[in-house]
Symmetry: C2
Subunit: 138 residues, 2 copies
DNA sequence: TAATATCCTACCAATTTAGTAGGGGATATT
DNA sequence: AATATCCCCTACTAAATTGGTAGGATATTA
């Protein structure tokens, strides 16, 4: 399950995507529009910025904006930044790999299935972008 | 990510699958063979029993055994019993559905993607069985 | 009735989640 | 230069979840 924080991230990014090209957007605007607790949102946007998905500007006229077009931000990237691994087991994660104790990976049946599952999931989440979720309703 | 408990469940079920048809197996045997803390395993097996995947017998000569053949126990079922929802959002879960607040499901783009993801995942996890993970190495 | 083995209730420490509080620092305007 | 604006950073906290442990109750067999 994705955390509430991740769902907030998607909603905030959608708002920024809808306003892409219009200059910096205030945290407080996003907070109001998407009903996300302000200080929590501050934290989320900052993490997305550190992950290079957003850029920010301080002072009057400042705010956050997408660093690249909504078509270039895929959902797998967002989930990894805010939620963590996409795979169901650490030993099949591409970005957060951790070895299993007491398990020979070559012969582990669970690992084989979880690898297939990971690939199927990634095929979708890496293809779908912010643009897709913004304009899904049309 | 699947919990440690779920991974224990898979390992315990694999052991029971390997010994299918041999009568009741002791919790302590599974615990030793698969290196799972005894009392924790007790709890896990009991939950699997309540979910109708195992049957148990008390007293001397007792223990746990699979209620049906390893070919009839799919991984999605096990995950749902021990880990919970398979979907990435409650609003797209088939077995643990919960409505989103502040979201029109008909037009929610995130929901659409997460539905596709869920279906792709289930297609694999509902098809793969205990038998598959036991004999994956061959 | 004694031994065996599961079942049940309750507890516990560590970690994660979902925030809140408050000030610091950069920027723009007046 | 002063001030208002707005992001940035550190620290704290309550509640829930995770990963167990302890101990006795209950059922079964010999």
């Amino acid at each position: 399950m994705l955390s509430k924080k991740t769902r907030y991230a998607f909603r905030a990014l959608s708002y920024l995507g809808e306003n892409y090209g219009k200059g910096p957007i205030l945290i407080s605007d996003i907070s109001k529009a998407k009903k996300i607790p302000l200080k929590f949102l501050e934290n989320i946007l900052n993490e997305l910025k550190k992950a290079d998905l957003l850029e920010s500007k301080k002072g009057k006229g400042g705010g956050y904006s997408l660093k690249v077009s909504p078509k270039k931000i895929n959902l797998a990237t967002v989930i990894r930044v805010i939620n963590g691994p996409i795979a169901l087991l650490p030993c099949v994660s591409l970005n957060f790999y951790e070895r299993c104790e007491d398990c020979d990976e070559t012969y582990c049946g669970i690992r084989k299935v979880m690898t297939i599952t990971r690939d199927a999931t990634l095929k979708i989440l890496e293809k779908k972008t912010l643009h897709d979720i913004i304009f899904a309703s049309i």
